[in-house]
């Protein structure tokens, strides 16, 4: 059974008289421990697909199973629960809470988990920060960190809950190319450790880190193939 199984997924926005088909019949399966990049021109539906897979959004129609669970028909609170337990997000704009320390930011998913005691949360957050080489920046606030460090805090936050999938929407979009490569090295490392990673990018050299690339065009899958790395 695939980790993610999407069949005939549609997301249609009604804008006045015209309908926008953000996703126009997408079917795709992603296995555990895959490293997939989603590419395509601006407006092709990459973020929409990402948001659906991340359970931030519900499709207009279509099937979506995660770990064999039907997600397409879930309500708000159930989706929140899945996001908390199974998904780790990394955003282009980091989306850290500006007034909170790295530690507090990384603790957040554990807080909403609701079952983890305060001292365990702290230990888990510190070890996640250590995994992204920020063990010495736990009490810094985002504005005291560089862009690359902020994104690493965001990665630590994404993996602290030990999620089934890490979703990254243009994670290097706001970074210079050197820092971008550092973040990609981090993703490569996480993949090697057994994580499933899906990342959206429009840069070929970023996409080349993945083993599989899905190319979207006008809300449809145009190409779904292995990369050079995936073939080797």
């Amino acid at each position: 059974m695939s980790l993610i199984q999407v069949k005939d997924l549609y997301k249609i926005y009604q804008m006045g008289n015209t309908e926008v088909r953000a996703l126009d019949g997408v079917s795709v399966s992603i296995e555990k421990n895959e490293y997939v990049s989603i590419m395509g021109p601006s407006g092709s539906g990459k973020s929409t697909l990402m948001n659906l897979i991340g359970c931030l959004d519900t499709p207009t129609s279509g099937e979506f199973f995660m770990d064999g669970i039907d997600v397409a028909t879930m309500g708000d609170d159930e989706l929140a629960h899945i996001r908390n337990k199974k998904i780790g997000f990394v955003f282009q704009t980091f989306n850290l809470l500006p007034k909170s320390t790295s530690l507090r930011n990384v603790e957040l998913p554990l807080i909403y988990n609701g079952e983890i005691k305060a001292h365990e949360r702290r230990d888990m957050a510190i070890s996640a920060l250590t995994r992204v080489n920020l063990g010495d920046r736990v009490s810094h606030k985002p504005n005291e960190l560089s862009g690359g460090q902020r994104q690493r805090v965001a990665v630590a936050r994404a993996l602290v809950n030990n999620p089934a999938i890490i979703l990254a929407d243009e994670p290097t979009g706001n970074l210079d190319s050197k820092t971008g490569e550092e973040i990609m090295a981090l993703f490569d490392e996480l993949h090697k450790q057994g994580n499933t990673i899906i990342l959206v990018t429009h840069e070929e050299h970023i996409a080349a880190h993945a083993s599989r690339v899905v190319r979207l065009l006008d809300g449809k899958i145009a190409v779904d193939e292995l990369t050079k790395r995936g073939k080797s």
Partner: protein, 406 residues
Amino acid sequence: MKSFFWENLRIALAELWSHKTRSILTGTGIVIGIIAVSLMSTLINGVDGLFEDSMKFLGRGNLYVEKWPWFGDEDWWTLRNRPRIELDMADEIKERSQYAMVVAAERGRSANLSYKELSAENIYIHGVTANYPEVSTVDVEYGRFFTESEDRTGAQVVLLGSEVAKTLFPQGNPVDKMIFAGSKRFRVIGVLAEMGKFMGAFSNDTQVIIPLATFNKIFHGPWGRRSITVKVPEHLVDDAKEELRGVVRVLRGLKPGEKDNFAINQQNAFRQSYQGIKMAIGGTGMIITALSLLVGGIGIANIMFVSVKERTREIGVRKALGATRSQIQGQFLIEAMLITASGGLVGLIISTLISMGISKFLFPANMSFGVAFMAIALSAGVGLFAGLAPARKGAKLDPIEALRYE
């Protein structure tokens, strides 16, 4: 779920701390409202205590037959022209009434007293029958009350109120000393225990008591207060009042259909008119309180809407990381309630200080636990009410749009 309360409280504290001025300004309305409500309740409690203390002077089972009613709106001239109360009716009343246990009579007027070169002016001379202690709260501190035979014979003996005793005898025992009331010499036979003031104004300690017969012998003329006190069983006071009215009508020779030309007063009259005043004060206080809490609540709702708007992106992040609607809603509700509860607490502290000042300089007014509890509950309630709409708005935000919000 319990852990969320603390988490949300922590978030709220951090948030309010980072907007200190705004939080203080927002809470001020609540502070004022809570001061209004808790001070008002405390004052009413204090005045209540004062009232009940005063009512002790007028026994619950006492009926007072007098010319003037204590309250009412009868025509002044009609009342004025009523015949005065004949105090010798007292014996007849005792004989004819089924309910009367004790019937005492009294008169009063003021006069100047002196002892050697010391004098006390405008002292209330109270002429009473020997059974007066049975219908009143007077208590002899030292010495003794006068006897029935002293009353019958018009003995020139006097008991001094505690203030009078202090004025005329700054040191030394007044008992057996001779004082002057006007031109008459009286022998002091006792000093009354301190009684305090009636309704916080008229002191009972600046009077002296002499036998009624002595009073009648010395002070001629129609002036001064005259009253017959009839003590009846407390639980039968209403029946007794009706009976007493009949008895007095017969004694005064009133025909059926003729109006009463006397009044039967009782503690109840005070109670009713006091209740009226209390309701008026309380009602005004309620309106002030309600208005200030309403205004304060609107201010808080307004600030909470601003806060939700400012933190749209934060809400998006929290939702993406797994916060449910109710968790987000709780976060903002607790923030609103924290503002109002702190406002309430500050208001409570201020009004406790004010009521301590009142207790010290005016009359006893202590903040009760009940009032304090009500104030805190009320302010938290206002927070809940004011925070609900903004909190729901925040909770309903779409995570994708919230994350995109600039």
